[in-house]
Symmetry: none
Subunit: 221 residues, 4 copies
């Protein structure tokens, strides 16, 4: 006997737990593919479970989103912690944003989540706050170290991040998984105090790729 829990679990508990997991899994997949606005019924269907059951487990979309991303988001926060500890604030900031964007690129759900403020998603509050603190700290230290432009505020960075971040899925779809590195580098260069030394990463978009990427953006809302 390794743990007492297994034997204690009464009645249907295990089954429900299984359903809950199926739902979260399905929701994760669907959110990843379609974004956070994906129809609830699609998720339920994908899980092979009645939609009313989904509602029982997660009365609101926000609750479901919260459950799906709670763990994933802690990953982002960990990256933030690490970045804060960096000697060179600029390097820390850069590295942090790269990590964040890697996440945004892979997953429409994470993307929506990080580049929007969804009312009612609890865990999100924490991530956004943490995110802001990380950026704020690194900016302020960067300013002291002379690598960050004096006037740049955390809001500047966070907003630019969101703006660029939202386009990442379309971009990667059109031009490969690393395509976001280049516009991100450009953005960062705008924040620097000193002129940018490093060459831009990732090859430039071709015209076709640009067209493709824009097409994938689609009309808003």
């Amino acid at each position: 006997m390794t743990g007492p829990k297994d034997t204690t679990t009464p009645g249907r508990r295990r089954d429900a737990q299984r359903n809950r997991e199926l739902l979260i899994e399905a929701a994760h997949d669907v959110f990843t593919e379609q974004g956070l606005h994906a129809p609830i019924d699609v998720i339920a269907r994908r899980a092979g479970i009645g939609n009313a059951t989904l509602y029982r487990h997660f009365p609101t979309r926000a609750a479901l989103v919260d459950a799906v991303f709670r763990d994933l988001l802690t990953g982002t926060m960990a990256a933030g912690e690490e970045a804060r500890a960096a000697e060179d604030a600029w390097a820390g900031l850069t590295g942090y944003l790269v990590t964040v964007f890697s996440g945004l690129a892979a997953d429409r759900g994470t993307n929506d989540l990080m580049t929007t403020h969804l009312e009612g998603v609890e865990s999100l509050q924490a991530v956004h706050a943490h995110n802001r603190h990380t950026v704020e700290l690194l900016l302020s230290r960067g300013r002291e170290q002379g690598t960050v432009r004096a006037e740049v505020t955390p809001e500047d960075v966070l907003f630019a991040l969101a703006a660029l971040g939202r386009t990442v899925p379309a971009l990667t779809a059109a031009a490969g998984p690393d395509a976001w590195r280049r516009p991100l580098a450009l953005l960062l260069d705008g924040l620097r105090a000193a002129p940018a030394a490093a060459p831009l990463p990732s090859p430039a978009l071709t015209t076709t790729q640009l067209t493709d990427a824009l097409q994938r953006l689609g009309p808003q809302h």
Copy 2:
């Protein structure tokens, strides 16, 4: 023969033309307010015309969009022409983008249009091409004049433009009609060869404004 070419449909031709105009007008208004995904019926109703008639005139949404913006977009192209003539390429580029963004801020339709490639919208091709040429020209001359970073491509600029452009409506809603000037300036600073001399325009976002703006972005699609 005093009338128009086709005598078989005496008043018809003119009637249809009138309808077409009414539809385009209505669509323009609706697109401006609601974006390009606005319900077809709303447009037809606003024009005071049956939706099936709309379909007859414009079998697809793209066709309607095309018709609506064909004329408007020439305005943007004119701004491009003017910019191309600028002595100082950097000033020309800056001015051009400011003009473009002013348009993006005012009109959800133009915004969708310029920051996306809608399959099947013919006239759009022309604008995007023109746009690209303008940027390309100014970039290349800027490079010669030493004001633009060597590596920056037109695609870099156009893509960044689209990314930032799409957020403009939410941004102006949250922080006022000039709020886009600041992130645009930041973006431009990233493109410069020389370090940015000018201070950032427009006050920085407050945290609340940022939150508000992000909330207004909403999930994609």
Copy 3:
């Protein structure tokens, strides 16, 4: 040719008109049977028409209710006019209320309509206003003629009317189509200045009938 309309009516107009009538008819029936809260879909089904079509004709429940009852309600208003002209105000009031209650007894829809204020039902406003004016006028003249208690206000009457009126369908179901006459008479006797001379109309409820009636009332809301 007796009228030009028939031949002029273009296209589908006649068909749609037919549908509209079918819908109103069906709605009338369903409202009469089930009251104004009856499911929209049931009405559409009863009319043999898709529910979306119903929505096209009547975008809100209130619009449908309005269409169904607009004509019926003018009947009530006519009765009001007549009552106002009565020499003996008390007789006029009595007669009026009897007419009104006859309507309430026959039809759950009318009943809901008259004993409730449904937001958005235009024609209803007029009836309620007319109703109030009738009652007000007759009360005030009745007071002058010494047949109505001094303190009684139109609101007193209208409210009592509503309270009693709502029970009328259950009452008639349990005790016959004239059963409402008796409680109405009792109510009126409470409004009189002089002691009631006339015997109560309609036989008294039996205990069983009372039980039955109450059962039919059902829980509120």
Copy 4:
């Protein structure tokens, strides 16, 4: 024997009893707030108990209602006893009805219960019977004492009571906790043999209050 009768289920019996009490308590609260049609699950959740357990204890809604109100209703019956003892039958009747209405005003559940006959609620039979006897007795004595109209039957009173009683929650919501006193007084005046001497209690409704009250009544069922 120190324990309870059934020794086969040592803690069970007591547990079940406890659950039963919790359920009744919760149901009482919910019924009071929302009326007798409140969702079953809400009650179970409020009790912190599974809904299936609720079903086990009370297979039908009626059974639950019965259990909840069995005790409460004895209070009403006590008031009846007291009223029966009154010297002046009319005063007794009046006082009784005031007491009853106070209850109707405070509690949606009691209201539904007293103004309706719910199929299958056993205990209700008793209350209604008791109620009827009280009214019957007082009426008959009032007739002897010359204060009650000869023709008025218990059913007349009980029905009028129900009709007015059901409107009490809406009325108090619209016009204050004592607003029911005035229409009740009017009703009673209709039952008197002698002309009403006392002025009406509680101020008259304003037009706005009337509208508000009617709106709150809502469609039946």
